[in-house]
């Protein structure tokens, strides 16, 4: 497969799978991740898949070959692994359903998203929960998914004044992206709903419910269902 390597600082290297966000690049990113994970390399401390790249953070002291810099050794080892890697993932993508109570206190910006796009709030909910999204990457903060595939009809600019506190589980829209806040944090996204499901749990293994490569589908629930699920959490 085609890819290129470049350093990121002196402790990481980036495997570039493709130039743009598309399905072929996504499959390549998944294939690279699977191959590196299978190889179980002790010198790698972190594998971070993104839209078009896979970054490997490494410990240079574990690649201290005489006469050769750690980056060269790392490159050689990566080339060896990837030269025999087929373009496929060894995992079937999972589809994870995320229950969301839309509107009201849970989604205070649902009305303005509807208004901006000249739709009814019901139509916004329908479009937002219609088809599954692809989880391109997890990043920015613990458990935060970068989702691909939101319908353009509900795209809405960020709020002019970011909120100081966005509750955990809030589902929002920013431009043509949608996402979920796994932790309470400040934020400028248009909030259209909230999920009672924990996206990030330090006791769980892995700690994040969502992983890059998974599909995610939002399922509308009522406020009563939300409260019940929250109580059973």
């Amino acid at each position: 497969m085609d890819y290129s390597l470049r350093p990121l600082g002196d402790h990481a290297l980036v495997i570039e799978a493709g130039p743009s966000i598309d399905h072929a690049t996504h499959v390549k990113v998944r294939s690279i991740c699977s191959a590196i994970e299978r190889a179980d390399l002790s010198w790698i401390t972190d594998i971070v898949p993104a839209f078009t790249t896979v970054t490997l953070h490494y410990d240079p002291t574990n690649l201290d070959d005489p006469g050769r810099l750690p980056y060269e050794t790392a490159m050689n080892r990566i080339h060896m692994i990837l030269s025999s890697t087929p373009l496929e993932t060894d995992k079937e993508p999972r589809t994870i359903e995320i229950p969301v109570c839309y509107g009201g206190d849970f989604g205070p910006d649902l009305e303005s998203v509807a208004e901006w796009n000249a739709l009814t709030p019901e139509k916004v909910i329908e479009l937002h929960s219609a088809s599954p999204y692809l989880i391109h990457m997890i990043g920015f903060s613990p458990g935060f998914p970068y989702l691909g595939g939101m319908p353009e009809e509900i795209a809405t600019p960020r709020r002019k004044e970011p909120r100081l506190k966005v509750p955990r589980g809030s589902v929002g829209i920013a431009g043509s992206q949608t996402g979920i806040y796994p932790l309470e944090s400040p934020g400028g996204w248009q909030l259209i709903g909230r999920t009672p499901v924990a996206l990030f749990d330090t006791e769980a293994c892995p700690p994040g419910l969502l992983q890059a490569g998974d599909r995610l589908r939002f399922k509308p629930i009522t406020a009563a269902e939300y409260k019940e699920m929250e109580a059973n959490r």
Binding site: L8, D10, H11, D46, A50, T52, P182, G208
Partner: protein, 326 residues
């Protein structure tokens, strides 16, 4: 046990970081100045990565219940034991009931207090580091507060031998190599071109080397924010978000660069003009608000070579200390 009488400005428990969870968006955290962290542990007879106390700008006051050995490295915040001035970068003996205090900040920004046996807190995802933004790790996921009580681990046999030697003779007749201290005192930061370096205007790329940048008071464990000549890109191009690392210099639209530190996010979408050589991260860690930083170029090869050299010096220091106390 250590009782917190006064917490200081931002005092947290840190180890060397939480590795392996960046794919879930979890910051690495850990000590901002890994060099001072490692040396402090070695001087207390600990493993190099044991959990210790990171102190920022204003130090805490701590009462020790039980005698022990400790060391303080990094910033000079005028440490005292029962009011008596103490040296940095040395093993120090503490008796039951002693109070460790800190005074004025003379130099640097962050001090590292290692206690023999390390600070005992539960591991979260394989690390004892406090990750403030997620409220996990360290002592209850937060900075220390008045009244907190920290448990100390079992001291190693080396710590005990070092403590006994200090009881016989209160001054150590050895000191650690200068290279391991001096690095944190210079304000010149060596950098490599970042991935989006070519997208910046030529004047901006030159400004980075020819002018100095001031550390902003808005700096924190996530990033050292700089203010100075604005850095502009040639054209506004949205980059596709991807992984960033500690030392990445991101430039947001206001043109004021940010050096990402231990609590950085895992991925970013701002163009990266440069990457700080790991060997110089302690210098960034010790720059306090108002300090001026200057940048100088270094090659990727040289950065890796110098990092390996320093890690070898640390291994030699560890061996040297163990040999002295056989």
């Amino acid at each position: 046990m250590i009782e917190v009488l006064k917490p200081g400005l931002l005092t947290t428990i840190q180890d060397i970081g939480r590795e392996g969870f960046q794919q879930f968006g979890v910051s690495v955290s850990g000590s901002i100045d890994p060099l001072a962290h490692k040396v402090a542990n070695l001087l207390a007879g600990n493993d190099i990565d044991s959990a210790l106390i990171e102190i920022t700008l204003t130090g805490p006051h701590l009462r020790f219940h039980g005698q022990t050995l400790l060391s303080i490295c990094g910033a000079d915040l005028s440490p005292t034991i029962n009011g008596v001035q103490q040296p940095l970068w040395k093993p120090l003996k503490i008796e039951e009931g002693d109070i460790l205090g800190f005074g004025i900040l003379k130099e640097g920004c962050r001090a590292y207090l290692a206690v023999a046996g390390g600070i005992e807190v539960p591991e979260v995802m394989g690390s004892k580091s406090t990750y403030l933004r997620a409220g996990i790790g360290g002592y209850r996921g937060r900075a220390l507060q008045k009244g907190d009580r920290l448990t100390v681990g079992t001291p190693s046999s080396l710590s005990i031998k070092m403590g006994n030697a200090l009881t016989r003779n209160p001054t150590t007749d050895w000191s650690i190599p200068h290279q391991l201290i001096d690095h944190s005192r210079s304000r010149t930061i060596r950098i490599m071109p970042g991935n989006e370096h070519g997208q910046f205007q030529e004047e901006s790329r030159e400004a980075l080397f020819n002018q100095s940048y001031t550390v902003s008071p808005r700096s924190d464990r996530m990033g050292c924010r700089l203010s100075g000549p604005a850095i502009q890109t040639e054209t506004h191009r949205d980059m596709i978000s991807e992984a960033v690392t500690t030392g990445t210099i991101q430039v947001p639209p206001d043109g004021q660069p940010i050096v990402l530190l231990a609590d950085r996010q895992t991925t970013g979408g701002y163009p990266r003009i440069a990457e700080v050589a790991s060997i110089d991260l302690p210098r960034v860690a010790q720059a306090k608000p108002g300090d001026e930083l200057r940048f100088a170029p270094i090659t990727h090869e040289e950065a890796q070579r110098l990092y390996l050299q320093r890690e070898r010096q640390l291994r030699e220091l560890r061996q040297g200390i163990s040999l002295k106390y056989v």
